[in-house]
Symmetry: C2
Subunit: 496 residues, 2 copies
């Protein structure tokens, strides 16, 4: 057997380990009883430690050297080998003890976060978060030293291969320059129109769930290889051939769960659409979190906040909830779902103010990783930033720095990908519409096939064959930029 | 660090791997979408292969040798070391390839079984079952050679340490001698009384579930370390500190789900009551499947089919389902739940005919392992046995040899423990009543504390410190025997 073939077997085993961890992680956030948290933490730590051991074994390094020296691979295997090396370089940079210590600290911290968030009690989380941060800084330094990157770039690279602060900083600086003005003008623009009519609840949770399932089916979610469940913090997780999305229901407001399901379904379509023959190999993986977020936002924001989509959705909603009246018109639903209103909670933020939440978190987490911001000072810095960027006074940490699971989960370097994803979504949607002129009309019929097929061919089935910018250039004619996103916001929110 | 301490760490890692596999196995039977079966099979095979690798590593053998040579351990660590050696000897007897091949074959076979059972299509399962059997025979031969046992005893020993055909054969031969007559006399005895009044459905599934949860709470199930869910074939699984039981609901008959919940709760109490400081070590494990089944049957059959329990249950049922009338009297409910009626389905069988199902399966599986019965001949042999032992003509394989998941799961050597467990349950319950005279009166109040506390002290918290017969002798004054079971059946079914 060639070194490359041996590596394929090894990485298929790694994919199975990752899949096992994916299901156990999903379970921990959906069904697991509280008392199992410590045992689950041990289980996940062991699995991650074992994956790390396989990746860092001298045999793996030897096979990579041999396969690279042998060369002569076709494009997909060659890209697979390149991705294997990337994954191995990341893993090899971090000692196994540190991997397991971090996994355990994260499991504990995530559990404490649930209670601390509920009780708005930052002090309870602080020591656990400090430990998670300490270990993430150590990991960032170790990876940075091995990969020739600064620690934050090294962490970022593990979520979004090839992404760098040098790319983000100018984009975010540009955004900071015009976003506050756009938000102000959008509020003025909307303020000059009649206030959208509110929808009166309650909205039966079982009906909300059925509606979500119906839209997932329309989008093309494959229920033989996935599920919809409930968790405090919605996510898309699970394993290959078993993609599990979650949402949370509120009887008073069906929109949050529904838009959440559409968002996570966008992620799920990417996972379910990855190139089948390569789905257990690194080259078959999704290409980084910015593109992943672009797939959720292209569904939730680009397609499903369009006038066309609400023309399809309005009668569905009226029928499902047994309601009628002018507040259920497509126009009113569109107006309700595109209102620009600064708020405390990132996941509830509208499309225009959302990037401000990310600018703040990016600023804070780069400072934390650089050692310029201590955990004890986080609530104050968070609240100052909310005042500055969105003009809001945060009343408690539940509505402030305790709202997100990312930092308690050790996910430093993840937040910027949300806004990078919004940029990519706008860029991809513009290209899809240009390529498929029938697309908007189809959305108005609940027919997602033209959009889904274009995304499948241009994004999902590409896997990790190309880097993010190469993929975007092939699909849209340009590398990641700000134009399409700015134009989109101006069109939707300023009538431009 | 001493060799023994190193072993403790190694076995704690093994326990975490087993816990991970336990949750993934639970998920596969409860929630997993069909299309994930192959990936899940890979995940479980990898985890089992890794556990096997740890157990069979030369370092583990060396540490066991060193710890045994060093000696001087207190009773619990000494018993732990003994159990470590037992587990390692079992694992070391089977090559890793065979472990992984068997795990994969079982995953496939279990999935096919679900469809084959639904469609009563034995031919569909046959090649998969043949492959599972082939691999189990190979495992039995390998273990037998290493442990100095015949292949069936070697398989049996992995479910019930120390149990042997030489113990079972005389017990089962004794049972075969008087059981058919007891069944006939019980039917005569019951036939001379008025037929119990039927309960008219439907029974709301949500109410059934709430009732099950209420009884679990009364039994002392710890919901911070466990759950109740739904699966086709009810079981108790999961992991340490995360004990998951399942049931299946039938709107027409609440009794099946309710008694199933009580049964699985008995298993769960054993798992949740294992000695806490040792719960990640081999000595902290439950002592074999016969004792495990004794704990489910002591709850379901000994305690919860007693007159006292129905005095407690009857008003609960009337209130929950909003019903009344003579059919809801404790006496009628007791009569309904202790009816002796030969039937096709083992898991629905009454206490008196149940052992006949086991006598048949024991006969068939010993023959299959010995190579004296081919898979192709199984349906015929199964149906012949049902005619002979219970006088029933099996109309199709769904009601015959396709009804149980055990063989498709590769669990040869497991069936006899059901009836050995029934013997042990009768023996333990007699001892518990003698030690706690208030026990029956408490059951009539829904107070399970005296029974639970006695079981905790005499069974659960003993873990694997003692062998089955030593445990039973300490708890009841005698090794496993037939007396208590026969006396119990004669008292309950013949009014003796």
């Amino acid at each position: 057997m060639t070194a490359y073939r041996t590596l394929e077997q090894r990485f298929a085993r790694l994919a199975a380990l990752e899949g096992a961890a994916g299901i156990l992680g999903w379970d921990a956030q959906t069904l697991m009883p509280d008392g199992a948290a410590e045992a689950r933490g041990d289980q996940l730590a062991i699995l991650r430690g074992m994956a790390h051991e396989i990746l860092t074994a001298p045999e793996t390094a030897g096979e990579l050297d041999a396969a690279e020296a042998a060369g002569g691979l076709d494009p997909w295997p060659a890209a697979n080998l390149r991705e294997m090396r990337r994954v191995q370089a990341h893993a090899g940079a971090v000692p196994r003890d540190l991997v397991e210590a971090s996994s355990r600290a994260v499991s504990r911290s995530e559990m404490v976060w649930r209670e601390a968030r509920r009780d708005s009690d930052f002090a309870r989380l602080a020591p656990h978060l400090a430990e998670v941060l300490r270990l993430q800084r150590e990991i960032g330094q170790a990876k940075g030293a091995a990969l020739g990157l600064d620690p934050y770039d090294a962490l970022l690279d593990s979520y979004d291969p090839g992404m760098r602060r040098a790319v983000i900083d100018p984009l975010f600086s540009d955004l900071t320059g015009w976003l506050p003005d756009l938000i102000a003008r959008a509020r003025e623009f909307q303020g000059a129109r009649p206030e959208p009519l509110p929808l009166a609840g309650p909205f039966d949770v079982a009906v909300q769930r059925d509606l979500g399932l119906r839209l997932m089916a329309a989008l093309g979610f494959d229920f033989s290889r996935g599920r919809l469940d409930i968790s405090l913090h919605p996510f898309c997780g699970g394993a290959t051939d078993d993609v599990r999305i979650t949402t949370r229901y509120d009887e008073a407001d069906f929109g949050r769960a529904l838009m959440g399901v559409l968002h996570e379904s966008g992620h799920a379509l990417y996972e379910q659409g990855r190139p089948a023959p390569w789905r257990h190999q690194p080259v078959g993986a999704a290409r980084g979190m910015s593109l992943h977020e672009s797939q959720s936002l292209i569904v939730e924001m680009q397609a499903c906040r369009s006038h066309e989509f609400f023309a399809y959705l309005a009668p569905l909603l009226r029928e499902a909830f047994g309601r009628s009246g002018p507040e259920w018109s497509p126009e009113n639903l569109h107006a309700l779902n595109t209102r620009v209103r600064p708020g405390f909670i990132r996941v509830d933020a509208d499309e225009a103010t959302y990037p401000a939440h990310i600018l703040l978190r990016y600023r804070l987490e780069t400072a934390m990783i650089a050692g310029d911001l201590a955990v004890a000072d986080l609530p104050g810095a968070f609240n100052d930033g909310m005042q500055e960027l969105l003009g809001l006074v945060v009343p408690n940490d539940r509505l402030g720095c305790l709202q997100d699971i990312h930092w308690p989960s050790g996910a430093f370097g993840y937040f910027p990908t949300y806004t990078l994803g919004a940029l990519a979504a706008a860029q991809l949607f513009r290209a899809a519409r240009a390529a498929e002129p029938a697309l908007p009309g189809c959305l108005a019929q609940g027919d997602f096939a033209p959009l889904r097929d274009w995304l499948r061919a241009n994004v999902h089935e590409v896997g990790s064959l190309l880097g993010t910018d190469d993929l975007l250039t092939r699909a849209t004619g340009a590398a990641l930029g700000m134009d399409a996103f700015r134009a989109h916001l101006e069109a939707r929110y300023l009538g431009a």
